[in-house]
């Protein structure tokens, strides 16, 4: 059912004409709120031998477009588009300055709802784990052997993913939609991978441990639904890296993470939703 619908032709809301004419864009995803396009070309830096000190990205660029929503009152629509576009870009900029691995943002046009950023090329954590599980399962039939291989191949990456998320939360930033698809593994060098956190469309600033716990809980749910066999083990490693990451923040970090983990327990018990009265 779902697949049939995805194949249906959906008319795309139009990007500003100037951009479409000038650049070669490929639509790569259409969410509820934004269209995501790929462009090999940078919006304002041409390729030229004189330009050697420029932040060029060989993996190309992403244009994220929040089209106007005709169902919304025009004033409300303009406000929301501007507000959300800017909030996403501010998060990206702030995180980049702090050294958290996120796509570098290139430019923004808040009135048009356009963000340009670096394309992160690499498998999503989801696909990467699937790939590894497949390899491991083909190598041995023995569960103890497989467990050992998982620890060898997967644990290190999940520790570093947890650590990257801890940097985000340590800065009192909440992602809002942490899933194994929004964590991308970029090839660093010689087969070494580094996790990059993407899609800050729902991100926000929050000092509450509760909001960070919900971020982690949403990610846990994503693990359970996409990697049900070993979800618990994976989450364990990820949280180990997360807690260790906070440990680097000295006393405040240790205090913060203790509060968050306490909240996480509570959120797990009640689920994300409060119980409903009639």
């Amino acid at each position: 059912m779902a697949d049939d619908n995805k194949n249906a032709e959906i008319p795309l809301p139009a990007l500003p004409e100037g951009i479409v004419k000038a650049l070669d864009l490929t639509l790569i995803s259409q969410g509820a709120e934004a269209l995501v396009f790929f462009s090999q070309s940078h919006p304002f830096i041409p390729t030229h031998e004189a330009i050697t000190n420029s932040p060029g990205f060989s993996a190309g660029y992403i244009l994220k477009y929040r089209p106007p929503k005709p169902y919304r009152h025009a004033l409300l629509d303009a406000q929301l588009t501007k507000h959300r576009t800017l909030s996403e870009v501010r998060s990206l900029y702030k995180l980049m300055l702090a050294g958290v691995k996120v796509p570098v943002f290139v430019s923004v046009d808040p009135r048009q709802g356009i963000i340009w950023m670096e394309n992160i090329s690499g498998p999503s954590l989801k696909k990467w784990i699937w790939g590894n599980e497949e390899v491991i399962d083909s190598q041995t039939e023995d569960e103890a052997g497989r467990a050992k291989l998982r620890e060898e191949k997967i644990k290190g990456t999940l520790l570093s993913v947890g650590s990257e998320i801890s940097k985000l939360h340590f800065m009192d930033m909440v992602h809002g939609d942490l899933t194994t698809s929004n964590l991308v593994l970029r090839n660093k060098n010689e087969g070494e991978m580094e996790p990059v956190i993407i899609d800050f469309g729902l991100s926000s600033q929050s000092t509450l441990p509760e909001d960070k716990a919900v971020d982690l809980y949403v990610l846990e749910r994503a693990f359970v639904s996409t990697h049900p066999m070993h979800a618990e083990e994976y989450i364990g490693w990820l949280l180990e890296g997360y807690v260790a990451g906070f440990g680097r923040g000295k006393k405040t970090g240790v205090f913060k993470v203790r509060e968050i983990m306490k909240k996480l327990e509570a959120v797990r018990l009640r689920g994300r939703k409060r119980s409903m009265v009639g």
Partner: protein, 189 residues
């Protein structure tokens, strides 16, 4: 023989070519400044102080911002040239931006930008070279990032963009990411 500027087009604005020139050992900066202030139309270029510039892409970020504002009809200054200088700044203070990034009386080097399109002045690179020869008394240098890098005062850049001492700016590419971000976010943060 006058030297020819470097012509570049921003991928998103293919019909607005830019002619870019770099001069060192400039001796008539006060004259240029006063002609600009008096509104002499022969001086319709953006004159930038290279000590405030990290790289060509740094300037292109400001040009891109200016062209985007011009397209939307939301420029804050009167001309695209002053808008480019203003767009170099991370703040909304126009006077301060022109003072920091534009030509100063004591400037001995200049980075000159000409937007050569229908909205401004359709003009070729060679013509611009000739015109600038009579405006700028100085030495024309072939524009490239290496040449620019020699003229940058990194501490001025740090001060202009309020980059904390903790952030190392030795890596020009990482530094350019920081300043282009600040340029794109001007007025929004």
């Amino acid at each position: 023989m006058p030297s020819t500027p470097l012509t570049l087009t921003l991928p998103q604005f293919p019909s607005s070519p830019l002619h870019l020139s770099l001069y060192t050992n400039v001796t008539n900066a006060p004259t240029i400044r006063s002609q600009l202030l008096s509104g002499n139309t022969a001086y319709s270029y953006a004159f930038l102080d290279p000590s405030t510039i990290l790289s060509i892409s740094h300037v292109l970020a400001a040009v891109y911002r200016a062209l985007t504002e011009r397209e939307a009809g939301t420029m804050r200054t009167r001309t695209v040239n002053s808008e480019i200088v203003f767009s170099m700044a991370p703040s909304m203070n126009i006077g301060d931006a022109l003072k920091r990034f534009g030509v100063k009386d004591e400037s001995t080097a200049l980075f000159v930008v000409k937007v050569a399109d229908e909205a401004e002045d359709v003009v070729g690179a060679e013509e611009v070279g000739v015109a600038l020869e009579s405006i700028v008394e100085g030495e024309s240098v072939a524009l490239c990032d290496d040449a620019l890098q020699a003229l940058t005062d990194i501490e001025v850049v740090r001060k202009n963009y309020k980059i904390p001492q903790g952030v190392v700016l030795n890596d020009r590419i990482a530094a350019a990411q920081i300043v282009t971000g600040a340029i794109a976010l001007r007025g929004y943060s």
